[in-house]
Symmetry: C2
Subunit: 194 residues, 2 copies
């Protein structure tokens, strides 16, 4: 069985990196938050903060990816699923004081040119989301290449809207992005129009 302390360290790291970013989060703070002994940190993660960071990113990514079935399995179709995905994101953002946005976007931008393992972890997470979403769009009858493109546009709209919304403290960008995402999905569903 996996060590309990190790799990708690990853969870604490994921939470803190989400909220504060990678650079601003100290190892000591992670250890304290996890109620773990400091020595265990480097026992379980000989690669140090970077290794813990990579595992935390992957865990956050997997958790966030579970939102895809949550929204797309309950909705009537991919259009309404897309709409409620953005609507839910806007509500969550506002209700959490503009904190609960993408758990890895800040880290992704921070480390993109400074840590290859972390950059790779972020890339893998994004790719997994694209695959999860692409699958849904293919199931809705959209051709594979087009399905991937729609998935990319959807994720880009969400990530970009998060950046704007968190800075400007308004849900306006998320709602506008949601309408654009719906339009993109509809456009892919009926490629003849336009």
């Amino acid at each position: 069985m996996p060590s309990d302390t190790r799990e708690r360290l990853i969870d604490a790291g994921a939470e803190l990196f989400w909220r504060q970013g990678y650079v601003a989060t100290g190892v000591k703070q992670i250890v304290t938050t996890a109620s773990a002994p400091f020595g265990s940190m480097y026992h379980f993660f000989p690669g140090g903060k970077e290794q813990l960071g990579a595992e935390a990113v992957r865990r956050s990514g997997a958790a966030y990816g579970e939102l895809v079935p949550l929204f797309f399995d309950t909705a009537a179709d991919v259009v309404s699923a897309t709409l409620s995905l953005f609507g839910g994101a806007a509500d969550t953002l506002r209700d959490t004081d503009w904190a609960d946005a993408c758990p890895i976007a800040t880290v992704a931008l921070e480390v993109s040119n400074t840590s290859e393992p972390l950059r790779q972890a972020c890339a893998d997470v994004f790719e997994s989301w694209l695959e999860l979403l692409g699958e849904r769009f293919r199931a809705a009858g959209i051709a594979p290449d087009r399905a991937r493109e729609v998935a990319i546009v959807l994720v880009a709209l969400l990530e970009g809207a998060f950046v704007l919304a968190r800075a400007m403290r308004t849900t306006e960008p998320v709602l506008a992005a949601g309408r654009a995402a719906v339009a993109e999905v509809e456009r892919a569903l009926s490629p003849d129009a336009g």
Copy 2:
């Protein structure tokens, strides 16, 4: 006349925050890069790193905003301007080793919940971009409310595509976002179709 040293400090800060983010950039590094005396830093910016950061963000934002007339004045219409804007962004990103993306996005995410002055500076910059773009879309005949929404969608697509592209090391998201941006602009130009 404005002090030369002060100007150099802001420029150096803007450059470093762009490349490394706000948290990862040290005051000492800014001073060294600017070839400025350390004492001058706190003479010109009694508010410290935070004050310099806010001014650097506004300067970067203004410089980046100049891309709007650059692309929209030379293009035949707003659609081709949008297309070349994303195309240019993709080329630049690839040619600079995925470094030259949005100069303030990393900072915006980093400080959104930790520094109100910096958050405000980022919000002001985004708002200025939305105004610059909205103006162009209004001039193209799009109703004011709709023009703002198109501007938001365009910026969100670009910011989100940057996040994906920098992590995944491919221009694919920027190009896909560009096509979606073009579709959004076209949709706004002919609201009857669809």
